[in-house]
């Protein structure tokens, strides 16, 4: 982009790192050998990119390419630009134009005949592809806040994902993206957790809950058929913080629910959403749907994860060409139902600290849950405060779009997180509650970097803390 050189730009210039890819090829990983996980090969990648672009573009994306009138209203909706107002390369319109100009040059009309008239341009070489990688992976969390503020309905967030998908197919991705994709292809979960680790962690949490509740009647079933609920989790819950599994077990026990986790197909997270790889997205989502079918569960419940919710509840069925058969819901919706039906009893006095709620992009903008977490929180916390803006207008935690796995973009990410820090600080709350594990880590980074006196919690944790369990607590349980 000729003119971009004369303006200050925060776009990180990370070169293409293929060490992990080389290692994967050397060790002959099945997903690489069978071509499911793509690696970078020198050659005419620009032509391959253009072929993919032409083949994969859908009608709604094509219209997003053509409908932009360069009005600039999206600029102030993006936390990257709000934090760096002297850097026009941080605006959604500029970022989208980096793929749009290629579309205009090769697919649209005027751009093919007179490219200079409409700012159409082509990519020259793999260096240009790498620069594009830095833009779509490193300066955008695909939060879709710009989409919601565009008068024409241009979906820049989706355009960014689309572009990522093209680059992923060529192996031109940040190393972190390759690593996590590799792990999810090879092991069926995002963090390469083995089956043994998975089962043993579940047993461990079961024992912890039994100790806490003083009863052996609580269980964490695995592969139990004909249950009401198939519970699916985030691998982070096994590898790093299994407390949320314990919380879920407590709540299901108190509600008298018939539930199970599957032995295979338990990962509700989906890196295909972040890398733009519909193939990976389909594979992981299908594992979950088939597990539910195999175990004849009546409903799929997804633990608290934003991108996991969006992938498993919404996108996954379309990626996998799998018609939805079972109700698929977030565990927060399950909690809301339990509270409404009186299946669990809660004592809000156990959560006295001021709590605010952070709406996750993939749940409030790309999904349908806005009032539900609030309804649950109001039952378990006496001091609940809204941040501003909120709901579908909330700002991204700044760690979205897979950014947490891409170390090279962290400094820019933390710099622009100033917007989020200001928003959090203004609430005066001690706790910020979120329905997304990714947001937990994203917000923790913001809190630590900007030294905010706050802690991040999730809905399950607050409900579990407030849970009135018969036998353990004196209070009588509400009749079911």
């Amino acid at each position: 982009m000729k003119r971009a050189k004369s303006v200050p730009s925060g776009i990180v210039s990370a070169s293409l790192d293929t060490r992990s890819q080389a290692q994967a090829k050397e060790t002959g990983l099945p997903s690489v050998k069978e071509g499911r996980l793509r690696t970078y090969e020198p050659g005419d990648n620009v032509q391959r990119f253009l072929d993919l672009l032409g083949r994969r573009i859908t009608r709604s994306l094509a219209v997003s390419m053509t409908a932009c009138v360069h009005c600039g209203l999206c600029a102030e909706s993006c936390h990257y630009f709000l934090a760096r107002p002297d850097d026009p390369t941080m605006t959604p319109v500029w970022k989208a134009d980096q793929i749009r100009k290629i579309f205009k040059k090769h697919i649209d009309w005027t751009g093919r005949v007179a490219p200079w008239w409409v700012n159409a341009a082509s990519l020259r070489d793999d260096e240009d592809l790498n620069r594009l990688k830095n833009i779509v992976f490193g300066s955008c969390s695909a939060c879709r806040r710009c989409t919601y503020n565009c008068p024409m309905g241009v979906d820049t967030g989706l355009l960014v994902r689309f572009t990522r998908g093209l680059l992923t197919e060529l192996g031109i991705v940040p190393e972190g993206v390759f690593n996590v994709s590799r792990d999810q292809w090879e092991t069926g979960n995002q963090m390469a957790v083995t089956e043994q680790d998975y089962l043993e962690t579940l047993e461990w949490m079961r024992d912890e809950v039994r100790t806490e509740l003083g009863t052996a009647s609580v269980d964490i079933p695995v592969d139990k058929p004909d249950c009401e609920v198939l519970y699916t989790i985030n691998p982070r819950e096994i590898k790093f913080d299994p407390r949320s599994i314990a919380h879920a077990a407590k709540v299901f026990h108190a509600a008298g629910e018939s539930w199970t986790l599957p032995k295979w197909g338990w990962d509700q997270t989906n890196f295909g959403l972040f890398s733009g790889d519909d193939k990976l997205g389909a594979y992981i989502a299908r594992n979950v749907y088939e597990a539910a079918e195999r175990l004849r569960a009546k409903r799929i419940v997804i633990s608290e994860c934003g991108h996991g919710y969006r992938s498993t509840r919404w996108e996954g069925y379309n990626w996998a060409d799998y018609d939805q058969k079972l109700p698929t819901e977030s565990v927060v919706v399950t909690l809301k139902r339990y509270l409404k039906e009186g299946r669990i009893a809660v004592d809000p006095a156990r959560n006295p600290e001021a709590v605010t709620f952070h709406d996750s992009c993939n749940i409030a903008r790309s999904g349908d849950l806005v009032e539900e977490p609030r309804e649950v929180l109001r039952r378990v916390c006496p001091d609940f405060r809204e941040m501003f803006p909120n709901r579908s207008e909330n700002f991204c935690c700044t760690g979205g779009g897979g950014l947490l796995s891409m170390a090279e973009y962290r400094p820019l990410r933390l710099e622009v997180a100033r917007i989020k820090a200001d928003q959090l600080r203004a609430t005066g709350a001690k706790l910020v509650c979120t329905m997304c594990h990714n947001c937990v880590d994203g917000l923790n980074d913001v809190i630590k970097h900007y030294k905010l006196p706050m802690r991040v919690v999730q809905v399950l944790e607050l409900v579990s803390k407030a849970l009135v369990v018969p036998g353990r607590d004196e209070t009588k349980k509400t009749a079911r």
Partner: protein
């Protein structure tokens, strides 16, 4: 009325309109050749309601933070686009229903609207030339389209009284520009009014199906006000 003016008002317009229609038809076919993805999930809302909400976006400035925060810009948008409607109406009224413009009140109303649109256009051109974001992303098409629209509104102010006996050049200029636009629009960003129903429909249908559109209770600032308001 000279033969030139009659020709420009009538035959040239019709030819240009036919050209526009043909190119638009081709463009629509082009759009429909891209594939559409099938939706396989249970709905959490209504795709139809979402699409309706989305299509109404242009008339709901409170629905988006961007237009809520910039009411002046939205007002410019309204004036500018009402001017477009008035100008297009004038290109049909002048040759085919000239008696309408013999009513002084109507002529004054059109002239006022076109003059306001002229000034709104000037403000927008200044913005496009001075705002660093727009300077970076704007193309030649963006600048020319806007400049010609401003000229078009100006010519409209002078043409609408339809006083061809006194001077024909405002009318020739006005209709000349109209013909140019009819030929140029399908290849320029001005075509966005053709794309608007599509982009808004697809976004609205998808978000409506997911229950994200219409957006619910609007986020309101807390009573005490946020600690720091971010204005770029």
């Amino acid at each position: 009325m000279s033969n030139l003016l009659k020709f420009v008002e009538n035959e040239v317009q019709l030819a240009a309109l036919v050209f526009l229609a043909v190119v638009y038809a081709a463009r629509l076919i082009w759009i429909f050749r891209f594939r559409s993805r099938k939706e396989r999930t249970f709905a959490a809302g209504s795709g139809a309601v979402g699409a309706g909400y989305s299509l109404m976006n242009v008339a709901m400035p409170w629905a988006m933070e961007s237009t809520r925060k910039r009411p002046g810009f939205y007002a410019q948008f309204v004036v500018f686009h009402l001017g477009v409607v008035a100008a297009i109406a004038a290109t049909f009224i002048i040759p085919y229903a000239p008696e309408i413009f013999r009513i002084r009140a109507v002529t004054l109303a059109f002239q006022s609207l076109l003059a306001a649109a002229f000034f709104a256009g000037l403000l927008r051109l200044v913005r496009r030339l001075t705002n660093p974001v727009l300077r970076l992303v704007s193309s030649a098409d963006d600048y020319l389209s806007l400049t010609l629209m401003i000229l078009f509104f100006g010519a409209g102010v002078l043409a609408v009284p339809n006083d061809y006996r006194r001077a024909e050049w405002p009318l020739i200029l006005f209709f000349g520009l109209t013909a140019f636009f009819l030929v140029y629009v399908p290849f320029s960003k001005i075509c966005h009014y053709l794309y608007y129903p599509f982009s808004r429909y697809y976004l609205g249908r998808s978000m409506g199906h997911r229950g994200a559109f219409p957006q619910g209770r609007k986020s309101r600032p807390p009573v005490a006000g946020p600690v720091k308001e971010n204005r770029a």
